[in-house]
Amino acid sequence: MPRIQLACLIAGVMLSAGCGGGGGDDPGPVLSGPVTIDLDAPPPTLLSDYHLFAWDPAAGFTFNDRVVPYDLNTALFSDYALKQRAIYVPEGAAAAFDPDRALDLPVGSVVMKTFYFPADQRAPTQDLQLIETRLLVRHADGWHPLPYIWDADQHDAVLSPAGEVRAISFTGVDGSPQVSNYLIPQRNDCQGCHAEQAGTGAPIDVVLIGIKARHLNRVYDYGGAVGPRNQLDHLAELGMLTGAPAAATVPAAYDFRPIEASGVSALAGAELDTAARSYLDINCAHCHNPLGVQGMTSQLFLDQANADLFHLGICKRPGSAGVGNGGFTFDIVPGDPDTSILYFRTDTTKLGAMMPLLGRSLTHQRGAELLHAWIAAMPMTGCVVDL
């Protein structure tokens, strides 16, 4: 009978004697060799041991060979955290294109996302504090999630399965002071979003969310000799993506940046619908899709593919929403966002009522504004309320 004392187990990185552990020995951020992914070894304690990228407050992020940064058209809101994303595909292998689902990345690939806050959101490249880097490493049996938390001196990040809740203060885009109760997810939380299931009781697979053609189909400024280039085209040119048609022929999600900068007042009609559906797709559909482990319970499907108005929430009563309904009856009341549960839950900061479930403690003002405008623009049909 294996018997383990946890008091001993948590003794820590710096303690090498007594509890049988050793620490990592690579203190610096400098890339000291090629990317190292050993799928047979326990995961490294220190993020720098992968040699995926280096971070320096003056130079910013430096990516190793075959590690390609990317960005999304519309991104998941995480309390205004900024994110540096990148993928690594091993030499001699390539991701396979898919028009709808996530790109199929080969074994040995890594998808990484670093969350950081500038002291002032109006100066997004200055006074940066790196919080965490999340890795998804592709093994033969699927994706393995590995959360790393950056140390106080910002030299390296440490594998931290237990996660943390941390109050982070910053100045918002409007100049107001903000405090996020920022959730660094525990390892088991990864499946809260990165999970898919063919049906109740079926195996739960860890899946990618953002690495889909529609989200990636945009220009990224790679700097240097490459400069601005479409991300899908660039990955194909590097030989890291196969089977992709020219990006110009691939549907793209809506680019949220103009909304973040200027609001939604200029949007109308089909463009408003496209923007809102892209926002729901990336912020909600990781659960709210027919394969979503927790979303299937609600029967509310906010993925790009859903064309059924009832499952989109129109005049639909929630399942077991508890306090999440805000006193309202229907997920979406066309033309009336202020009595629509979907708007209430994405706007509120009430514990127990907020959506998404994980990773938000502040209101995404522009996101809520978009959903409000989207519901307000729906023809007012009324929902049947009573006997």
């Binding site: 009978m1 294996p2 018997r3 383990i4 004392q5 946890l6 008091a7 001993c8 187990l9 948590i10 003794a11 820590g12 990185v13 007594g18 509890c19 049988g20 552990g21 326990p42 304690t45 440490v158 594998l159 931290s160 399965p161 237990a162 996660g163 943390e164 809740v165 109760n181 525990q186 390892r187 088991n188 499946q191 809260g192 049906g199 109740t200 009781g201 482990v293 319970t297 029967q299 009832f310 009563r317 399942g319 077991s320 929403a321 508890g322 306090v323 999440g324 309904n325 805000g326 006193g327 309202f328 009430k350 514990l351 127990g352 009522a353 479930l357 403690s361 049947v384 009573d386 006997l387």
Partner: protein, 451 residues
């Protein structure tokens, strides 16, 4: 041991002395790993950091034994492996306290087969107390889920909450002060709920979209509604074969403090309702002093009047609908708003129905408007699906109260209610013909046997 090394390497925080010491008689007075078969880890009482480390590092089929004391939790305890067993030192001895959590989390949140939680209290979870999803083989034993402040709308929704699971046992536990349901079995199959106490919740004990449930020996007291059974529309499990027997359901007169949803429509003082339900037996229970009434048998149209929202494609269903006489909207679909094939027998009724809650907010209220001061009957039926009140009463839905000789019965023609006229009602004497049957069509509900 690879696991031990992994954990040691990755967790850098407080250094706790006594690494080699594996004797903790004072903090593990009831259970320690020596009493557990299989892989086991002990976590000292109060050490929430070590608890989170354990939960996120151990592999499947491991028991975590929690020491005596209060664990102050800032994040939910998330379990995502099969065979996770969580055992404390007792309901009053080991507490997981989520009162200082600043993010919206559940208390204990588990997805994985073969889950057990035993001998501890979960306190002040921002969302649900203990949520167990998609498990096959679930045991809740001698646990308590509660919130410090009674009647607070900001209390979490559900206390003890197994959902979408099979082979579920909830016993000898307590669920208190939930702003929705204290003990909520949702979308489960093969369930035993016995000898629990639910108090101070909006809904005490709910059986929702669940098949094959045996609910007995429980006490529901001081909730808004005591023990209820229902289906919600659009859910792929059609509830069936539920027994409520030998429970005590009394003084469920708590003000309704739900912020919304189905439970916000429960009238204060409700003992039991069965809504959008079939093959239900309500027998041998003791009902006492529930101000609105003891038992209501209601169509699902009471909360969702649009029949089309109850349409379910047969191909989408989980669980068996064999032998059920479900309505159908079109080939390849069923609808489950109808309540039918229910036996109510041998219950004791004392002192209830004297102050019915007919508030406008309550969608179930129209059932009660017919009573102006008179005590509400022990068993009420909304007669939806029966012939008109002007013709001889029918029993198309096979509602059987013939064996409930200790109570009274009335069917209220709710569908005929209008803004200007009272609900017509039919109030036969025992044995309540044509509702005098005593056996379910298809035979009694079979005993639930857990593996």
């Amino acid at each position: 041991m690879q696991f031990a090394r992994f954990t040691t390497l990755v967790l850098g925080s407080a250094l706790i002395a006594g690494c080699g010491d594996d004797q903790h008689p004072s903090t593990f007075p009831t259970t320690d790993c020596s009493k557990i078969t299989g892989t086991c880890v002990e976590v000292e009482g109060t050490d929430s950091t070590a608890l989170q480390a354990a939960a996120n590092s151990i592999s499947a089929n491991t028991t975590i034994v929690l020491g005596a004391g209060t664990f102050v939790m800032t994040n939910q305890l998330t379990l995502r492996s099969d065979g996770m067993h969580l055992i404390g030192q007792g309901i009053d001895t080991t507490t997981l306290d989520f009162g200082s959590a600043t993010t919206q989390v559940n208390g204990v949140d588990s997805i994985g087969k073969d889950f057990l939680i035993q001998d501890l209290t979960v306190l002040d979870a921002p969302k649900d107390g203990i949520r167990v999803e998609q498990s096959d083989g679930v045991v809740f034993r001698r646990i308590r889920s509660t919130w410090t402040t009674p009647s607070s709308m900001s209390n979490g929704a559900y206390g003890i909450y197994p959902v979408k699971s099979q082979n579920v046992l909830v016993e000898d536990s307590r669920a208190e002060n939930a702003s929705d349901a204290g003990l909520y079995v949702g979308q489960c199959q093969h369930v035993i709920v016995r000898n629990n106490t639910v108090t101070g919740n909006v809904a005490g004990l709910e059986i929702e979209n669940t098949q094959y449930a045996d609910v007995y020996g429980n006490t529901a007291e001081d909730n808004t509604g005591g023990i209820v059974v229902f289906d919600l529309p659009g859910n792929p499990i059609v509830g069936r074969d539920v027994r409520l027997r030998n429970n005590t359901i009394r003084n469920n007169n708590h003000a309704n403090f739900a912020s919304g949803g189905t439970v916000a429509t429960i009238p204060v003082g409700t003992g039991t309702f069965a809504m959008a339900s079939r093959r239900v037996e309500i027998t041998g229970n003791t009902y006492e002093n529930n101000h609105t009434g003891d038992i209501a048998l209601i169509s699902g149209l009471a909360v969702e009047p649009s029949a089309e929202k109850w349409v379910l494609p047969t191909a989408s269903l989980s669980g068996s609908i064999e032998g059920l006489d479900l309505m159908s909207a079109a080939t390849g679909t069923v609808m489950n708003f109808r309540s039918e094939n229910i036996v109510v027998a041998g219950n004791k009724h004392t002192g209830s129905g004297t102050m019915p809650d007919t508030g406008d907010k309550q969608a179930l209220g129209p059932l009660l408007l017919a009573y102006a001061g008179a005590p509400v009957d022990s068993v009420l039926y909304d007669a939806i699906g029966e012939g008109p009140s002007t013709a001889a009463p029918t029993n198309e839905n096979h509602m059987c109260v013939g064996g409930n000789t200790g109570g009274t019965f009335a069917s209220l023609y709710v569908a005929e209610q209008s803004a200007t006229s009272q609900v017509p009602f039919f109030r036969p004497a025992s044995p309540f013909a044509p509702f005098d049957c005593t056996v379910l069509n298809g035979g009694p509900v079979a005993e639930v046997v857990l593996p």
